[in-house]
């Protein structure tokens, strides 16, 4: 089976499973909303400081929801002992990683797409902005690419729920920083030239992250 | 200058932490060496019996 056919087959499997149960998507979306509401209660948002807090709040919500989704992505495979099935697929190990990374990214993007309108309504920030969507895309790819690797790392240990965020969040500090900063600038109406450095950082991180993860994945997953 | 308290505390903490770590290594080393000795004796005995 050719490499990309294998990858697409695995992605399709994940997406179909999710479409049937919708458990990951609903969990992630609800969790993101919960985070937003809780922060709102805790931080006393007023009209004048909304733009300062909203970007950070949005990305925190995405990060926590993302961790939830990532934990699930390998946990589901373990419960049905499907990991062995994935390992036996006649494709390169890196294809398993790419497939998981793509499906995790898709699920995160779906949750984020549903979250943004609600977020916009609750906090009165403008989210109809292709620039914003692009930043969200880059940030999500960065998060999911590193997250998929660490989810595989933590998958076999008993403390996987706490280990994944502890390992992942330090590594995605550049992503969260660049994403929140550029989001703030975009919501503020600043020009591309002004947030371009953050964009470049995100792009660079995404590329490096995927490359390193692809190289490391086989060491992490063999039994 | 009561700031000296902080200076002393900082250096004391550093040395205490390092010495505590050293102590834990030394303790483990001694325990393992003892275990090795016991194991060696058992092995030598088995070899003699054969």
């Amino acid at each position: 089976m050719s490499y990309w056919r294998g990858v697409m087959a695995m992605v399709a499997k994940d997406v179909l499973a999710e479409l049937r149960s919708k458990e990951a998507l609903s969990a992630m979306l609800l969790f993101a909303l919960m985070v937003a509401v809780t922060f709102n209660l805790a931080l006393e948002l007023r009209v004048d400081n909304v733009l300062q807090i909203a970007p950070g709040l949005m990305w925190v919500a995405f990060a926590f929801a993302g961790v939830l989704g990532l934990n699930r992505s390998f946990a589901a495979e373990q419960e049905c002992a499907c990991i062995e099935g994935l390992m036996l697929t006649p494709v390169d190990r890196s294809a398993v990683y790419i497939a998981k990374c793509i499906s995790n990214t898709l699920f995160m993007l779906a949750a984020e797409a549903l979250f943004l309108p609600v977020f916009s309504a609750l906090f009165r920030v403008p989210v109809w902005s292709p620039a914003l969507w692009f930043i969200v895309l880059l940030g999500t790819v960065g998060f999911a690419s590193a997250g998929t690797l660490f989810a595989a790392v933590a998958m076999n240990s008993r403390a996987r729920e706490i280990l994944l965020p502890l390992l992942l969040l330090p590594i995605v500090v550049p992503v969260l920083t660049a994403a929140t900063r550029s989001t703030a600038q975009i919501l503020d109406g600043q020009s591309l030239a002004q947030y371009a450095p953050w964009l470049r950082l995100l792009l660079a991180f995404d590329i490096i992250s995927v490359v390193i993860a692809v190289l490391s994945f086989e060491y992490v997953i063999e039994e | 200058m009561n700031n000296l308290v902080y200076l002393v505390a900082a250096y004391a903490f550093a040395w205490l932490a390092i010495l505590a770590y050293l102590y834990s290594i030394a303790r483990r080393q001694r325990r393992l060496e003892h275990e090795l000795k016991v194991l060696q004796r058992t092995l030598d005995r088995e070899k003699a019996e054969r």
């Binding site: 330090p170 500090v173 | 700031n3 902080y6 932490a17």
Partner: protein, 231 residues
């Protein structure tokens, strides 16, 4: 062979002791008292030295991880794991000393300054790495996973360094592109501390590696013993 190793270690320990005494002398006697902060400023020398050892240790752990994945010799895994442990120890020491300095100077134990926050985050990452090693399954898998985590985790170090460029920071900046912003006698004390702590790191690393190797030898012997008995 083992005897030669022991002799080398003893020499290293002796050398370290000497360097430590020298560093203490330079820090408390040679280095001048700072104008605004007073004697509390002397924390700086050990604080920087500890932070430096942390970074060095994590670099060694990263390299150890790479070498392990390259030739699968468990010795490299031992080096990597030991270095992570020691790196974490010294990073925590640096954080605590920084906090003890901050209380009189900034009037707070902690601030969410980028330098401090990224250092704390780095410590959390390596704590998780250590936790994972202990929970991990087979020895070989633990080693492989530990190697990947040490390699990827090293990105934390440049993040801590570049924190001053990505955000605004109130953490004192001493090493700039324009040169060192310290008086010569202070620089001497700093260099002495760096040297002493590097030697200390080498000692601790060696001893820690020795313990793990001993434990591995013992378990191998046990294994051989039990398998012979069942024959």
């Amino acid at each position: 062979m083992a005897q030669r190793h022991n002799d080398l270690l003893q020499t290293l320990v002796a050398l370290t002791a000497v360097l430590v005494v020298i560093s203490l002398y330079t820090v408390f006697v040679v280095a001048p008292t700072e104008q605004t902060m007073g004697h509390v400023q002397r924390i700086f020398y050990y604080h920087v030295a500890s932070a430096w050892v942390g970074f060095l240790a994590f670099l060694v752990a990263c390299v150890g991880g790479l070498l392990f994945l390259a030739n699968r010799s468990l010795l490299w895994d031992t080096v990597s794991a030991a270095s992570v442990e020691i790196g974490l120890l010294f990073s925590v020491i640096a954080l605590v000393q920084g906090s003890l300095w901050a209380r009189p100077v900034w009037n707070t134990w902690w601030t969410w300054d980028p330098r401090l926050t990224t250092t704390l985050v780095m410590c959390l990452y390596y704590s998780a790495t250590m936790m994972l090693r202990q929970l991990g399954g087979s020895e070989e898998r633990s080693a492989r996973v530990g190697a990947v985590l040490s390699i990827v985790g090293f990105v934390n170090v440049p993040i801590v360094f570049l924190a001053i460029r990505m955000w605004r920071t109130i953490h004192p900046v001493v090493f700039t592109t324009a040169g060192f912003a310290v008086a010569p006698r202070m620089l001497l004390a700093l260099l002495a501390s760096l040297l002493a702590f590097t030697a200390l790191y080498a000692c601790l690393l060696w001893m820690r590696i020795r313990v793990t190797q001993l434990a591995r030898d013992i378990s191998r012997l046990r294994h051989g013993l039990t398998s012979r008995r069942t024959l």
